[in-house]
Subunit: 429 residues, 2 copies
Amino acid sequence: MSSIDKNLTSFVEVANDSDFSIHNLPYGIFSETTGGKRRAGIAIGDQVLDLSVLEDAGLLKLSGGPYFDKPTLNSFIESGRDNWTTARNTVQKLLSADNDTLRDNDGLRRKALFNQSDVTLHLPLHVPGYTDFYSSKEHATNVGTMFRDPNNALLPNWTELPVGYNGRASTVIVSGHDVVRPSGQLKPNPDERPIFSACKRLDFELETAFVVGKPNHIGQPISIDDAWEHIFGMVLLNDWSARDIQKWEYVPLGPFNAKTFASSISPWIVTLDALEPFKTSVPVQDPQPLAYLCEDKTDNTYDINLSVELMTEKSDQATVVCETNFKYMYWSMAQQLTHHTITGCAVQVGDLMGSGTISGPTPESYGSMLEIAWNATKPVTLKDGETRTFIEDGDTVIMKGYSEKDGIRVGFGEVRGKVLPALNFNFTN
Amino acid sequence: MSSIDKNLTSFVEVANDSDFSIHNLPYGIFSETTGGKRRAGIAIGDQVLDLSVLEDAGLLKLSGGPYFDKPTLNSFIESGRDNWTTARNTVQKLLSADNDTLRDNDGLRRKALFNQSDVTLHLPLHVPGYTDFYSSKEHATNVGTMFRDPNNALLPNWTELPVGYNGRASTVIVSGHDVVRPSGQLKPNPDERPIFSACKRLDFELETAFVVGKPNHIGQPISIDDAWEHIFGMVLLNDWSARDIQKWEYVPLGPFNAKTFASSISPWIVTLDALEPFKTSVPVQDPQPLAYLCEDKTDNTYDINLSVELMTEKSDQATVVCETNFKYMYWSMAQQLTHHTITGCAVQVGDLMGSGTISGPTPESYGSMLEIAWNATKPVTLKDGETRTFIEDGDTVIMKGYSEKDGIRVGFGEVRGKVLPALNFNFTN
């Protein structure tokens, strides 16, 4: 893991509040024009550094490469941890203020550095599998309180295993893509048959997801001691949810149509190496998990500040509706991954593993509108005077995340999505 | 769709009870040695016809080809229905008894035809997504009766929509691969904490799955009128299930570890064109489904005989433990696909959509050990004298399927899997 040199600065200007300091160096896929050639870059300040140019210039030599003149990061990630380390160290050196290789080579700089505002960011991964966990005790308790029984809000299995389910990888999209309001079956009246309708309770879920960096073979679980070695990095995730469709469809086999229409991720993958300085512990786990889930380390999660902003079409001023932290999550990412594979399931490079909605202990820290407006009983008033219980057409949801300590900031940027009106269908029931 | 010429025969010998008549022509991927070059073939009698050889010889010309000198069928399937039709018609003609092109060319026949028993069959598809439905009313009723309430066995949503959930595509395996008994969390004693253990209630689920042949875009549902055009063909599916793990983990988000360790499919994809003569209707749907799920055709399913055989290590004699039929399924494949995409979910070429366990009305036609041995209360006696309530180590499960009418037989071959003992772990709780 990388050691931190607080005095390290880049010759590329990086604002104090930038998520993309020289300590971060997150990976993404970009093109100069919307339909242009896709290749890998690293964010630094408000710039993107084209890694394929560095490879081409012989400045970034990785075992088995080249890797970066490609439309996804999968082959680089699959090439293994030694390459992850070499790439990070090489790029950090090349971007540092006291290294003249790139700094003083005007021609190379012009070829390799682009304004982020000038380029298009794409889905950074081919995502073979997408799994969503449910690992915030506060969120699970809130949902259980609203929909089941306040006195037994948590189901008995919740504290014994990281509950999760398979999501739909084909609809993982990158920040900036609009989301069409889904239509489907709702049952607004318990005494009548369901109806076909546009979703009336469209929600976000504030999550992170980790990216699997090393696969396992079918039938060979990943042990808790090895799990961290299988994780490459993290992104922000908005797991869009149609609450009314979910409520009607989800028994007994879990959420399906209510979750499969879109899951938006941030374009930059922040590596665990970059997050290393922000390690902290998950909450006390009581009861102590079964042995296969017991970690012998206590610095098994990260202190990451997270927020959700809501913006209507009436104004360009966003309102913060949630401020929370990743460290509230009860189950660690290593525990999630180990549990995922314990019966022999194979994970693949590029798989995304969603955290589940990240709610904290206070109403200000709840990670979904369902909880923030408490099942539509406590509408939220936005800065522009609008009120919301769920997400309306034209609304934009913006999630942000960053870690900060001793003047070092490592952030995720944002995942943003605007909701478009539902399609028109030719039938009414 | 193909018309049927009952008098059509092949110069390749095809036994009367062969699944692979000239009317079938299912697609698979094979290699001459286990690790050898993979390419596409069609089964005829006990032979495999190498389609890459036909392409190479200029006898099989498809738009945008060649397609068959590849390790999966995805690009051929993605190339569209016109090519599906051309390939079927061309191969049927080349294999027919009265066509001399292949029949009388000894050199080409030696290059293009292999004994099935001499080759290795592989997973025929890259499977981007795997979804499992739950569309047998008898199965859902049996499970609801055992685990919930016999008087309200079917949940209210069951007759309104084809209940389904996302499965795990990474562990779809082909017939012949062994399955390691999974270990995980069980809760044998309701008053005590769960334990870590090898699964004690390992089960099969007799299913079919359809293969998506034409994708849709995110946000653009496939209408019920278009749905059949998106389906390429069908396979047999054994959706292995760990009942004790499932019982403990599945609330509230559905099955996860209990189902993700293996899903076995048959190696040959039978096309809908081949199944055309065996069309029939799904059972009466009451209530009539909402408009988006209403089909205006009644020949919306297929008459496919299905069976499950169980064989222990004590003998090589298998015992039939289930005989059922695909036509019992309440929801059609078109309804499943339309429902899957109604909120905007994107499906991809090669996606597998499992039917759900196919149980018929009588105990002899139940499609899982859970139902056959009625939650372990009615052990099954096998031909070798062994009794079973669930699947034991060393047992082999064999599923078969075929359609037959007017002397024409179109079959799936089999999906076979043997259960190996659980791994040894270093911990006991």
